[in-house]
């Protein structure tokens, strides 16, 4: 039905796909597997005309096709449900399905009845019953997904791409989705299914294609492989980065922070962990597995249903990050631009932002001299390369910006630093420097929680690793168990225990 052959894609000088094949038959559910950054999304964007391949061909039912844009791909019978839905929140299911191609009556007004009837028909084909007259936001995530699928089908899609559809669903919703997928398979629709949850692959898929670092690793029938073989195909052998040496376990290190229970949402899993002096605790897991939310919940920046944290044995529940700061817990957030920096401020002002307690003159005023001196010292400590402390922070490279955010925490009596994706979007040299800094901090007795989607980084830096899946910690590994197979297995198949 669908054949992609030798697809290559280059962004500037970077080759992201090195000749990938994908062969999908009518009436099958085909899994596309690979780690974050393996090239799955790029491949799907090429299939749907959003990106153009540098080389390679796309054939549908044997006929070679080229899609200049998304609309042409839809025309050819390809539908995609993105991870982030493209529904308009305040419109109803019917209005969303017919957005921009509304059915009109003779007067040129909306023919609401016709659209409603047609929506009903399609949803009946999916054997789904959902309210048609309420805004999409009132529907569950799964129902919104069905609307997306129905929208694709209303465009006569014969090839349907589902990009991580189960990432945000509850187990019973996943079941319902699978029922719908089986129904579509019976009707001859070819489904490309992207998921990191391996047991789902075994449950619903017929065949598998695996990508790794933009390379085509292989394809096979689901019945021919087992879990371990799949993980091996996905992870492969890797060259380790140069990480600073781990100092090894510290006997008798005291517990700096004990998280007795965190429950992110109602009826979700409850996590617990402890963080010891001088260690780096990795938070591993797939995107959306609850790592960041758990960290933010501890700081009081995410409304968790339960959150009980002991700092130095004393029970606390922070209402906002300012209170966490007072207890020596700081955050290096995931997105420098949106959560970390005040981009219109100078380096100096970004560093001193939460330090004014120490730069006071006559109690009420900022001691500008001390502010300058201390901030310059902090800059030197994390080795920020810049014209000077008064340079605007948005003139710096990503790595230097990251160091500025780190510097913000240095003049406090910190105990715990939470680094969320500390090396995202920065170059290799700066990465190594950040790793080095992290070890310098732990040597001083800080404890670090490092949230990372890069497996080599988690493995190379962590003394212990908490593996997250579907909103909670499913395993904590240490020592020799910190390896990619072990972590990936927990992250994709670990058992989640939901608690009411």
């Amino acid at each position: 039905m669908l054949q992609l052959t030798g697809i290559k894609k280059k962004f500037g000088n970077i080759q992201v796909l090195h000749g990938v094949d994908l062969d999908v038959r009518a009436g099958e559910v085909h899994a596309l597997l690979g780690e974050n950054g393996a090239g799955k999304s790029t491949l799907m964007k090429i299939l749907t005309g959003i990106l153009q391949p540098t080389e390679g061909t796309i054939r549908i039912e044997g006929e070679e096709r080229k899609f200049a844009n998304y609309d042409e791909a839809i025309e050819a019978g390809i539908g995609i449900v993105f991870q982030e839905f493209s529904l308009i929140p305040h419109l109803t299911a019917v209005e969303n399905m017919f957005l921009a191609r509304e059915v009109k009556n003779k007067l040129g007004l909306l023919d609401r009845r016709a659209m409603r009837e047609r929506s009903k028909e399609i949803l009946a084909r999916l054997e789904v019953d959902l309210p048609l007259d309420v805004p999409i936001t009132k529907l569950s995530v799964a129902e919104q997904q069905f609307v997306e699928i129905a929208k694709a089908l209303s465009l006569n899609a014969r090839i349907l791409v589902l990009d991580e559809p189960t990432a945000t669903l509850t187990p019973s919703e996943v079941e319902h989705l699978f029922k719908v997928m089986r129904e579509l398979r019976k009707q001859g629709v070819a489904i490309i299914f992207i998921s990191h949850h391996l047991e789902e692959i075994f449950e619903i898929c017929d065949r598998i294609t695996v990508l790794r670092d933009g390379e085509f690793v292989g394809d096979c029938n689901v019945s021919d492989v087992d879990n371990d073989r799949l993980v091996e195909m996905m992870v492969g052998r890797r060259i380790e980065n140069s990480f600073p040496e781990k100092p090894g376990p510290r006997p008798g290190a005291k517990v700096m922070l004990e998280c007795e229970e965190v429950q992110l949402r109602k009826n979700g899993p409850v996590s617990q962990f402890e963080l010891r002096e001088g260690e780096i605790l990795g938070f591993a897991g797939l995107v959306g597995s609850g790592r960041t939310e758990t960290a933010l919940a501890m700081l009081g920046a995410f409304p968790a249903t339960r959150c009980k944290v002991l700092v130095d044995g004393e029970e606390t529940r922070f209402r906002e990050p300012a209170e966490a700061l007072a207890h020596g817990i700081g955050l290096l957030p995931e997105s420098r631009k949106e959560q970390g920096l005040i981009t219109s401020f100078s380096i100096l002002q970004n560093i001193s932002l939460n330090n004014y307690g120490k730069y006071r003159k006559y109690h009420w005023f900022i001691d500008l001299k001390k502010e300058m001196a201390d901030s310059e010292a902090a800059m030197a400590q994390v080795r920020v390369k810049a014209q000077g402390a008064t340079a605007r922070v948005d003139t710096l490279s990503g790595g230097n910006q990251q160091k500025v955010v780190i510097a913000r925490w240095l003049n406090h009596q910190m105990k715990v630093l939470i680094f969320d994706e500390p090396t995202r979007g920065i170059d290799v040299g700066a990465k190594a420097e950040i790793y080095q800094l992290m070890r310098e901090f732990t040597a001083k007795g800080y404890a670090i929680i490092m949230i990372s989607s890069e497996l080599p980084e988690v493995i190379g830096m962590s003394d212990r690793v908490c593996v997250f899946r579907q909103g909670g910690i499913v395993a904590t590994v240490e020592g020799d168990s910190i390896n990619s197979e072990e972590i990936m297995t927990h992250a994709t198949t670990g058992r989640v225990q939901n608690v009411a």
Partner: protein
């Protein structure tokens, strides 16, 4: 040096040179002020007389003081539409307390300040903890304050207040009108708050990136509460001058003043989205508006036409200055 906050420091480097002014966000407002002044000077020979200049500054003082609070609010990315109505209400209540209850004048004035600041804090609490949009909250407060003023006074001005109150409105120290002195003092205090205290930095930080400020440990909700409180307080301070000038509490005073205050802030180069701007710019913006009013009057231009011209000039100014 960051563009928004520490112009004083950029000046230091150049010694006596004033080249920094060209790179400062104040450059455009200043140029506008100079150009408009020269034009007005040509159009009317009385324009540059000391008495006319003092007159202009006195006329500017009320909107100028309202614009101080407005600057704090806009720097955080908010807006306060209630300043005119809050000013009218606190002036009316202060006058009413003096006339109807025989309360000593200065206590009544303090009560007026309390009313203004209270309403500001009310706005701030709703915006910060109620997570409601500032434009709606302050629009509602505007209606509430205006309505209360009319209810309290029965819709009529309250006159018969002690004569010494007029000192605030029309008194002079030497040749300088008291309202002008008050305005200058309030601007000086605002400058210190914004440029020399942690609070001021937090105001800029919230306007620049509220989420980043919060995650780094800034108590963003308290800062927001405070800026609206300041706006309420400056509204009430303006009310004292107004009451002194009119020698009565006027429940209908100040209609549309919130728009003049916003115009002054924006003409002064403050970004309407927050994070960037200087209090000195607001002063220049307020004076610029005042000169336009005064000059167009001196030229004898039809008042309806004056509104059209002012609107066009504001649009032009914002168009020229839109980069920053």
């Amino acid at each position: 040096m960051s563009h928004n906050a520490n112009t004083a420091d950029s000046g230091k480097k150049g010694g006596i040179s004033f080249g920094w002014i060209l790179h400062s966000p104040l450059a455009l407002p200043l140029i506008g002020l100079i150009v408009v002044s020269i034009l007005m000077g040509f159009a009317s020979e009385n324009f540059f007389s000391v008495s006319n200049i003092m007159n202009v500054l006195r006329q500017v003082s009320i909107v100028g003081i309202l614009a101080v609070g407005m600057t704090f609010v806009i720097l955080t990315g908010g807006i306060d539409l209630s300043v005119g109505a809050v000013m009218a209400l606190s002036g009316t209540i202060a006058a009413g307390l003096m006339v109807n209850t025989g309360l000593p004048g200065w206590i009544a004035l303090l009560a007026g300040l309390g009313v203004g600041m209270g309403l500001g804090l009310f706005n701030g609490a709703l915006v910060a903890w109620g997570r409601m949009p500032a434009i709606i909250v302050t629009l509602a407060t505007m209606g509430i304050a205006r309505g209360f003023g009319l209810l309290y006074s029965g819709g009529y001005p309250i006159s018969g207040i002690p004569s010494w109150i007029s000192w605030f409105g029309i008194g002079r120290v030497g040749i300088v009108p008291v309202p002008v002195i008050a305005m200058v003092v309030i601007y000086a205090l605002a400058w210190v708050l914004l440029q020399r205290t942690p609070f001021g930095r937090h105001v800029y930080a919230i306007g620049g990136n509220e989420l980043a400020a919060k995650l780094s440990g800034v108590k963003t909700q308290w800062v927001k509460l405070a800026v609206y409180g300041i706006s309420g307080l400056t509204s009430a301070l303006a009310a004292i001058i107004l009451t002194g000038r009119l020698m009565s509490g006027q429940p209908n005073a100040g209609v549309g003043f919130e728009l003049d205050a916003i115009a002054a802030v924006v003409l002064g180069g403050t970004a309407i989205a927050g994070g960037r701007g200087l209090i000195l710019g607001t002063l220049i913006g307020a004076i610029l508006l005042g000169i336009l009013n005064n000059g167009l009057n001196l030229m004898g231009i039809n008042p309806y036409m004056q509104d059209v011209i002012k609107g066009a000039i504001i649009l032009l100014a914002i168009y020229i200055g839109r980069e920053w």
